[in-house]
């Protein structure tokens, strides 16, 4: 297959397994490109991309912007905090105003789940979801799987545990979809209060004992406690959370085998993982960040190739 089955990247849920493989193969080529002395290709020189962020982000925004610039696209940035959204403009109006300036693609982060899907039904541009509330964060899941593939050779058949605040995490949901699609075995681990009810219906298992989960897995993806989304108290104290679900070097060394540690960032050092774990040989956290640029270049390149010339 040489073409994506979708016009937008709204979530992993809408992708096929072949789409993911095509994105990975394309990302392989871009990874080679970004390791050259001149890290830029001219493919998207006639494409304009708007990065619209209604929620704060550093890593994702930088990564997208870098990916767009390395493809030679023209980039405009928009943060809701400095915009007319504050003055009462609706989402569709805001985006249509931006599109009337001849923008071809919109990369959007929004606090409401489904915001990207809604937008794709109402405006005429390719939409990339850069995180919509607690729903999906597809490029993060793609780069996570890509990093597993790079480290372990394949995703199929691997045991992956996602640890932490599953309830409020878009990274968890997108990762579950992506990993299942590629044939990995998935468990989620965390305090009962932070695991959504009926999450087993996605074809995954729940494990509340961290040590058991770590002994089972090949890869542990450690998530942050999303304090900004915690409306009520889900666990007694951060200290207690760390004692039950934090990974430190002693725990890692006590396991039967050497597992791979991942984290989508930002890390709360000393809470979900300690510094010596985050900076250890087993951690591929910084590889994830590097791969993020290659994956986003691949996604943007493949989506842009479906935009016809005007």
């Amino acid at each position: 297959m040489s073409e994506l089955s979708v016009r937008h990247l709204l979530g992993i849920k809408y992708l096929k397994e072949e789409d993911i493989q095509l994105i990975f193969e394309t990302a392989d080529h871009f990874k080679e490109v970004i390791n050259r002395s001149i890290k830029k290709v001219p493919s998207l020189r006639d494409i304009t991309i708007a990065n619209i962020f209604f929620e704060s982000s550093t890593r994702t925004k930088l990564s997208f912007e870098l990916a767009e610039k390395r493809l030679s696209a023209d980039v405009i940035n928009f943060s809701a905090s400095q915009s007319s959204v504050r003055k009462g403009e609706t989402l569709i109006d805001t985006v249509n105003n931006i599109l009337s300036m001849k923008v071809d693609m919109v990369v959007m982060r929004h606090p409401s789940p489904g915001a990207g899907i809604f937008l794709s039904q109402h405006v005429d541009a390719a939409i990339v979801n850069a995180g919509d509330g607690a729903h999906e964060h597809p490029t993060q899941a793609l780069l996570d799987s890509y990093s597993i593939r790079e480290k372990l050779g394949d995703v199929a058949g691997k045991n992956v545990v996602i640890v932490g605040d599953i309830l409020h995490s878009r990274v968890a949901l997108s990762n579950i979809f992506a990993l299942k699609l590629q044939g990995a075995n998935v468990k989620v681990c965390g305090p009962r209060t932070l695991l959504p009810k009926h999450i087993e219906s996605l074809g995954i298992e729940v494990e509340t004992n961290l040590i058991k989960a770590l002994n089972w897995c090949d890869v542990a993806n450690m998530l942050r406690i999303q304090n900004e989304r915690l409306d009520i108290s889900y666990f007694p104290t951060t200290r207690e959370y760390t004692q039950q679900y934090g990974v430190n070097k002693a725990i890692l060394d006590g396991l039967d085998k050497e597992i791979v540690i991942m984290h989508p960032g930002p890390i709360n050092r000393g809470v979900e993982i300690t510094s010596d774990v985050a900076d250890s040989k087993q951690s591929i956290i910084l590889n994830q960040v590097e791969n993020g640029v290659a994956i986003r270049m691949a996604v943007i390149y493949l989506l842009a190739s479906k935009i016809k010339t005007r």
Partner: protein, 179 residues
């Protein structure tokens, strides 16, 4: 659809040896030269020339690279299909080297234009030459001509030159295919 043989296996072999000798005449020991095969079809020719130079003419070391030009092409979004990339493998510096771009068929010249841009990402070559097995005359869209050519062919736009290689297609043969 009909096809006629442009070059047989024997003729291809003779031409490859002549091209190898011409390269040798201009580049002597190849220490400051880089042979760059253009993906996807130019790599067979580049690999074959490199093999002949080493085995039949005693050249010890050849810098052989593979260059993918997909992201530098000027027809992105202009066709029906997504342009699919191949791998690039250049594990030496082209800075200051004499680069020979190698492709099987020279037609409009647009691939070579893309390759000229792409190779700049790996440094500033001292000079760049072009070697092509088949040169389709009178069909250029750009002012690009080969320094070394296997055979010149007059073909109309509806016709297609099909180059087949033993290592990829089972045998060495070149067809002119018309609709």
């Amino acid at each position: 659809m009909s096809q006629k043989v442009l070059l047989s296996s024997k003729e291809i072999n003779i031409i490859l040896h002549r091209l190898a000798c011409q390269l040798l005449e201009h580049h002597l020991d190849f220490t400051e030269t880089a042979l760059i095969g253009i993906q996807p079809r130019g790599i067979f020719l580049a690999q074959r020339l490199s093999k002949i130079l080493k085995e039949d003419y005693g050249v010890k070391q050849i810098n052989l690279g593979l260059l993918d030009i997909t992201f530098y092409r000027d027809d992105f979004r202009r066709g029906e299909k997504t342009l699919e990339a191949s791998s690039t493998k250049i594990d030496f510096l082209v800075e200051g080297k004499k680069v020979v771009l190698i492709d099987d068929v020279l037609y409009t010249g647009r691939s070579i234009r893309a390759a000229l841009t792409a190779i700049q990402s790996f440094g500033r070559p001292k000079e760049i030459e072009l070697l092509t097995l088949i040169d389709r005359r009178f069909s250029r869209h750009l002012p690009i001509q080969p320094n070394y050519r296997g055979r010149q062919v007059d073909a109309i736009n509806e016709e297609k030159v099909k180059v087949m290689w033993k290592e990829n297609d089972g045998k060495d043969i070149i067809y002119l295919v018309s609709k």
